[in-house]
Symmetry: C2
Subunit: 116 residues, 2 copies
């Protein structure tokens, strides 16, 4: 029975593109991540991909356009849709994905997700 | 392909305890809600209950304690656990629940959830 203070969780690490699990919800991992630069193009064949910007700005590039997000903006990339997150400056995000989802869409290249 | 700007969504209504659906994620409704005062004691037998405070403060009372949340704090009430949200002043929340989940735990008393 403990509140999850996202700002405090984010203050515990500096790595980019390395999600930390902060809670669980209906079989999903609730994660925070810091990101900067260009991630890889990828898709998740079996799950939607939830992004909420907590701090900074994020562009989610799609094959036919892009979505620009600031603090308090969210976007759900539909299942199977190719996308690439890009941040010119460091951005802090809340992510939600089914447990075990590889962040690159591929277990071989995925970051290990650690609970904090 | 459109960002969901939570602040703009929240600016479109004033009612309390009346969630608005702003997105969909893996069979769940992503909602914003404004709340003030005491909600009813309830539980959701089939789903965890996700709360993220966007603005203001929320207390989630549990039968054996309580969780106090401010902006950027989240808490997931486990499936089946009785709880009562309480806010002395208006609070703005992001909620995530499976589509069709009654906000009171009971369809007979639940608020209608409208998409905006």
């Amino acid at each position: 029975m403990q509140a999850v203070r996202l700002g405090k969780k984010l203050a515990t690490f500096d790595e980019h593109w390395s999600p930390r699990i902060v809670s669980q919800f209906n079989g999903h991992d609730v994660m925070v991540v810091k990101a900067r630069g260009e991630f890889v193009w990828h898709a998740h064949p079996d799950t939607d991909d939830f992004f909420l910007v907590l701090k900074g700005r994020l562009t989610i590039q799609l094959r036919d356009g892009q979505v620009d997000l600031g603090p308090g903006d969210l976007y759900v990339v539909p299942k199977g849709v190719e996308h690439r997150p890009v941040a010119d400056e460091e951005v802090h995000l809340l992510l939600i994905e089914p447990k075990g989802t590889p962040n690159t869409g591929d277990q071989a290249t995925a970051a290990k997700k650690t609970a904090i």
